[in-house]
Every structure is written in structure tokens, then in C-alpha cells.
């Protein structure tokens, strides 16, 4: 057996506490990949610029009043349909998780139908709903169905009810992600089921719900273009209308794409801030927003310069 004293290591040479200055690893692969990608982009760019596309008209139509109102319609129908989808989706998710077999079956059938059929067909069904119910009679309100079902309402119902089916699955996953101990603690404090859901479960479920909901919304911005089939004057319908008179067909689709990209970019930024808000309490500190980061850099820059000023 070795003596214990044998195993005591000699005192380590003391390292001076100075900053390490090492030569970083070179990433040659990144440079090669970068050059290849730039080359490909140039080739694609040349191909597009040689195509028979009149790029000059794109700026002329970008702020055409028709296009702008079309983009506005796309935006508000998407927001409204999404709101309907989220609210109804929460209701259906709660029904689906209910212990009452009737409610959970109703929710299951709803999801089964609305997820299982194409949105375009659902839109066209609402468009033709007068074939089934020629007269709308709500007791206090009675009118011909064709008068009631404006393109906006048709698109809202078609897109919103379809979205609710998808949202309910997202919300259900969110609710189920919340630890059961949370519900128990809330019940033990005397909070009812409804209060527990609203105050304790849903706010925590949001962290799981929001990222896919952002995706759903961005999808909705684009899916809403299907509403042109029910005569909704949204972006694609407006672009098509203009292209049929101006003969600038592809150019008008480019214009529409620029608007879609603009809208989706804006909402990606909004989503970032919403996600951040609901991350409260899940980590010890929130990461800074890009704006805060920028301010910090500016401040650092300022503090580097200040000593010079003082001198």
C-alpha cells in the first residue's frame, strides 16, 4: 500500500492571473461555404434579372391604393380570424380535457371535422350556406342568409373556425404541460376550477402556447389568401384584379409577396416581445431585448470615449 504522503501532489506552479491570449481556431470550411453560397446567389440573381419581368413597375404598384387596402384587409381578417381561433380554441381545449364525456366527445368531433377537411372547402361551404339555411332567424334578428354572409363574415367563419381546431390542440398541449401540483395548490387555497384555469394554469401554459401560435398567425396571414375564392378583397384578390387590367401578372405577385414579407416580419418581432413577457419567472433573468442590447453597446461605446473627453 502506498503511503498517503506519497500521493500528495507537489505544489502546482503558480500561474500568473493574466488574460489568455490564444490564437483562435481557423474555420476554413465557413469561408468556403460562404463563397459557394454567394456564387449561387449571384447566378440566381442574374437569371431573375434576365427574365421577362418588368421590375420597374413593382415600386409603382407597391403603394397602389388597391394594393394597400388589400394588404389592410389581409391583416384585419387574419387578426380577427386568429382571435376567433384562439378564443374558440381555448374553449374547445378545455372541453376536450373535461371529465364530462359529452363535452369531450363534442370537442373531439369538432377537431376531427375541421382539421380533416381543406380550408378552401370550408370557406366555400360558408359561402354557400344559404343553400342549407336560406333564412337566418335568431329570434331577435331575421334576414336572408345571402344578405348576412358578406365576404368578410364568410372568410372570418371559414378561417376562424378552422383555426380553432388547430389552436385547441396547441392550447391542450400547453395546459397539459403545467405541473399538476399547480392545480392542487390553487384548489387547496380555495380557488375554483375556472379561477385556477384563468389565474394559474393558462398563464403558465402560455409559454408553451405562444411560439406555435405565432407560427399559426403567420400561416394565417398567408392562408387568408384563400378567401379570394369567396370574393374577399384581400391582397391576392386585389393583385389579381390589377394584373388582369395592367398585364403585369408576375409583377403583381411580387408586389403581394413584398407585402406578405413585410407583415410576417412585423409579427415575428411582435412575437419575440410577447414570448419574452410570458417567460417571466421561468428563468432567473430575462435576456435583454435587441433594443436594450443596442443601448448597452451605445453606452459601452460612450464610456470608452468619456475618459478621453475628461483628459
Amino acid at each position: 500500500m502506498t503511503e498517503i504522503s506519497d500521493r500528495i501532489p507537489p505544489p502546482a506552479p503558480s500561474v500568473p492571473p493574466e488574460q489568455i491570449k490564444a490564437i483562435p481556431v481557423r474555420h476554413y470550411g465557413r469561408w468556403v461555404a460562404g463563397v459557394v453560397i454567394i456564387g449561387l446567389l449571384v447566378l440566381i440573381g442574374i437569371a431573375f434579372s434576365n427574365a421577362k419581368i418588368n421590375y420597374g413597375v413593382i415600386p409603382d404598384y407597391l403603394f397602389d391604393p388597391g394594393i394597400v387596402t388589400g394588404a389592410w384587409t389581409t391583416l384585419y381578417i387574419s387578426v380577427l380570424a386568429m382571435l376567433l381561433g384562439v378564443v374558440l380554441g381555448i374553449v374547445i381545449a378545455v372541453m376536450r380535457l373535461s371529465s364530462n364525456p359529452v363535452t369531450s366527445t363534442v370537442a373531439w368531433v369538432y377537431i376531427w371535422f375541421f382539421r380533416g377537411t381543406p380550408v378552401l372547402v370550408q370557406l366555400l361551404l360558408w359561402y354557400n350556406i344559404a343553400l342549407v339555411f336560406p333564412i337566418l332567424n335568431l329570434g331577435f334578428y331575421k334576414d336572408e342568409m345571402n344578405q348576412v354572409m358578406t365576404p368578410v363574415l364568410t372568410a372570418l367563419l371559414g378561417l376562424g373556425l378552422n383555426e380553432a381546431a388547430y389552436m385547441s390542440e396547441i392550447v391542450r398541449a400547453g395546459i397539459q404541460s403545467v405541473d399538476e401540483g399547480q392545480t392542487e395548490a390553487s384548489h387547496a387555497l380555495g380557488m375554483t376550477q375556472g379561477k385556477t384555469l384563468r389565474r394559474v394554469v393558462l398563464p403558465q401554459a402560455m409559454r408553451v402556447i405562444i411560439p406555435p401560435t405565432g407560427n399559426e398567425f403567420i400561416n394565417m396571414l398567408k392562408t387568408s389568401s384563400l378567401a379570394y375564392a369567396v370574393q374577399l378583397p384581400e391582397l391576392i384578390k386585389k393583385a389579381t384584379d390589377i394584373s388582369s387590367t395592367s398585364l403585369a401578372v408576375v409583377e403583381m405577385y411580387f408586389v403581394a409577396c413584398i407585402w406578405y414579407l413585410f407583415l410576417t416580419t412585423i409579427f415575428s418581432i411582435v412575437q419575440y416581445y410577447i414570448e419574452r413577457r410570458y417567460a417571466r419567472g421561468s428563468s432567473r433573468s430575462l435576456p435583454p431585448t435587441p433594443l436594450q442590447r443596442m443601448r448597452k453597446y451605445l453606452r459601452m461605446f460612450g464610456s470608452f470615449r468619456r475618459p478621453e473627453v475628461a483628459r
Binding site: 395548490a185 387555497l189 375554483t192 398563464p203
Partner: protein, 266 residues
């Protein structure tokens, strides 16, 4: 120093705070509680010990009706838990009525179960505002006092993730106390804590006991049971094996099962 629980609601009479008569509970085919009889008197610290899986948590959860019992009777402060008896018929209470019963019973969990999206202060204010309809100002003042009492007056703005286990459990105790309960249930409140944090939670519980709170404590801290407990029940496999004064049972156990359990935890 002001007391932790200065407004403990007075018990409605001379009856026990908790009374269990032949309480049975099954989950499917597994029979977890096999006829529990016991009484907990007001202002008593009642310790419940026993091996894991013996049904201690299940029994606590029955007391505030987080679980429904299958047979027997369970009374808190003279009222049947979860049911109303008329003649010889039992009627299930509605959700609102069950919630109202739970208000008077505070519960502290092994894993704290604080609301992670709320600060310490918001955790403590939540139930008084939502359940008792207290105003924000009133709830805030009480919450601040309670957090001061448990030694966290300087941590009110922290989220649970920013607190140590011991601090979280103390917030959880303050949260339960904010409803001014007449009975507190503790389910292994220190079992999830690092050893050096156990003491701070036990200190708070000791203060609470000194203030006269009725407490049922499931614990493996035999030192606490001996020092603070007024009575102790040893449970195994869904039955009460032995009960008595903590010192009696811990120093001089009568049953083999008690002896073998105590030899493992002491």
C-alpha cells in the same frame, strides 16, 4: 414580535378540529386507506409518520377533499368534508361549497408548488384577492407582513425561481396563512430541501405552533416531532398502527412495525 397567525379563526365549539371515522380510500383496485380513525384537537400539533406509500399524503389530501373518500366519515371543525348529510342520505357538495371549505384549511406541499409566474408577494396576495375578494391594498399589506414574519421581507419581488428551496417553502407557508386558515396541513415540508435549509422552515413551523395553530404534519423529522408535536400517529399500509404522545411513541414503540421503521429513520 407579532405572531404569525394572529387571526386564527376560533373553532366553532368544543369538538375536535379533525375527526376521522373509519376512513377508506381506494384508487381503482389498490386499497390505500383501510379504516383510519383519529382525532386532532384544536391548537394541537399532530404528527403523522410512516413509511413511504403508507397513505399519509392520501389522508392529508382527503382532509381538504382533493381526494374523495370511499367510506367512513371525515369532519373538519364539526362539518362533514365534501358532503352534506340530510337524514341518512349524503349529498355531494357543489364546487363552490367545496372551495369554501378549503379556504379554512391551509396546505403546504413537499414540492412547494408556488406559482412560478408570480412574485413572492403576488403568490401570497393571490388567494385573498381572488377568493376572499379582499382589496389589493389590504391583501398587499397582509402579504408583506406575512413575508416579514417568515423572514423574507426583503425578497417580496423575487420570482420562485430566484429563491432557494427553503425560501420557497417559507413563501408557500405565508401563502397558506394569508387565507387565515384554522387548520394547516404539511405534507413532508422539508423533504425536498437541502439539509442546511431544513432548519429555517422548521423554525417557521415552530413559531406557528407556538401561536396556537392546529397543524397536521407529515414528516420524517423526528426531532421536530418530539420537540413540537403534541401527538403522533404511526401509519403503515393504510392503517394506524400506533399513536400517542410523540416522546412515548418514539422512545418506547410498542409494535414491531413501528420499531423497525424508527430504527431506519432515527
Amino acid at each position: 414580535m407579532t405572531s404569525l397567525a394572529k387571526d386564527i379563526a376560533p373553532s366553532t365549539g368544543g369538538q375536535p378540529m379533525v375527526k376521522a371515522e373509519a376512513v377508506h380510500k381506494s384508487f381503482g383496485l389498490s386499497h390505500v386507506l383501510k379504516g383510519i380513525d383519529l382525532e386532532v384537537n384544536p391548537r394541537e400539533v399532530f404528527c403523522l409518520v410512516g413509511p413511504s406509500g403508507s397513505g399519509k399524503s392520501t389522508f392529508l389530501r382527503c382532509i381538504n377533499h382533493l381526494e374523495k373518500i370511499n367510506a367512513g366519515r371525515l369532519y373538519v371543525d364539526g362539518r362533514l368534508v365534501g358532503y352534506r348529510q340530510q337524514g341518512d342520505k349524503l349529498y355531494e357538495l357543489k364546487e363552490k361549497e367545496v372551495s369554501a371549505q378549503r379556504r379554512d384549511i391551509g396546505m403546504v406541499f413537499q414540492r412547494f408548488n408556488l406559482f412560478p409566474h408570480m412574485t413572492a408577494l403576488e403568490n401570497v396576495m393571490e388567494a385573498p384577492i381572488q377568493v376572499k375578494r379582499e382589496t389589493k391594498a389590504v391583501a398587499r399589506e397582509r402579504a408583506q407582513q406575512l413575508l416579514d414574519r417568515v423572514g423574507l421581507g426583503d425578497r417580496i419581488g423575487h420570482y420562485p425561481a430566484q429563491l432557494s428551496g427553503g425560501q420557497q417553502q417559507r413563501v408557500a407557508i405565508a401563502r397558506a396563512l394569508a387565507m387565515q386558515p384554522k387548520l394547516m396541513l404539511f405534507d413532508e415540508p422539508t423533504s425536498a430541501l437541502d439539509p442546511e435549509l431544513v432548519g429555517e422552515v422548521l423554525d417557521v413551523m415552530r413559531d406557528l405552533a407556538a401561536d396556537g395553530m392546529t397543524m397536521i404534519v407529515v414528516t420524517h423529522e423526528m426531532g421536530f416531532a418530539r420537540e413540537v408535536g403534541d401527538s403522533l400517529v404511526f401509519m403503515d399500509d393504510g392503517v394506524v398502527v400506533e399513536s400517542g404522545h410523540p416522546r412515548e411513541v418514539l422512545m418506547n414503540p410498542q409494535h414491531e412495525r413501528t420499531k423497525s421503521f424508527l430504527s431506519k429513520v432515527l
